[in-house]
């Protein structure tokens, strides 16, 4: 599998580590979230057969976190973004 890194171009998946569902970006505020909200964030994931947004870490590369949109049935990768760009666009990291 080849991941087309937004800064570095196509890189082999062996350079990356899978870090889970991209919804992990949306961590609730630990000081105000209810137990249920925190439980859902930590334990509950969708398991789609089809398009899936996921976090990949470029460990053997530039150490960036990516949001990769991948089809879990075909492994086709349709979109690769820097996770920090995604997070900022969604209002995080201000």
């Amino acid at each position: 599998m080849i991941i087309d890194h937004p800064l570095l171009g196509p890189r082999d998946a062996a350079e990356f580590v899978y870090k889970g569902d991209a919804s992990l970006i949306h961590r609730p505020d630990g000081m105000t979230a209810t137990d249920d909200e925190m439980h859902d964030y930590v334990y509950l994931r969708d398991n789609p057969a089809g398009e899936h947004r996921e976090l990949w870490y470029h460990e053997q590369g530039d150490r960036s976190w990516l949001v990769v949109t991948r089809n879990t049935l075909t492994h086709e990768i349709s979109k690769v973004e820097l996770a920090r760009d995604v997070a900022r666009a969604e209002g995080r990291g201000q």
Partner: protein, 189 residues
Amino acid sequence: MAEIDFTLEAAPILGGVDLTIGANRIAECDDLAIVSVATPLGGDDAMAKALKDVWNLSLPEPSVSSQSGEIRTVRTAPDQLFLIFPHATPDAETVVQQKLAGAGYTTDQTDVWVVLEISGPDTLAALERICPLDTAAFPIGGAARTVMEHMGALLLRLDVDRFWLLSASSSAGSFLHAVETSYRNVASH
């Protein structure tokens, strides 16, 4: 009681290895200092200005190093770069920190990495077998961080058939073995 001299002498990580394989050469560079510089949040312009003012270096592109005289700089992460330059004394980080005057956060990486300079007509063929990247497509000055034989490595193309390979000093012997074996597999004698 006899006087005992406890003076220590620094030794190169691989003992200054210098191998000739066919028409190719693998040599350890042991005179280089490496300093990591991280850019503060929103400090890209200040970093670019500091590099230009202090060393006449341009901020390197993500996959291409920049050079000024004997100092080179390589991007290792979106907000981090390495400065690599000949430096005899073990104070490279202090020197860089003072010159940058707050434009970046510095960490000494000297002796954390082993630096092999590899050269010769079989270099691309040898790299092809152990490096997942297309090194033949690198421009001169092209640089990338990747994994070779399960060991993290940083490559820098110095010339058509001359590269620097940086890898962890703790596994330097294994890294040298991988590079040497690949050369021996492809070298024409």
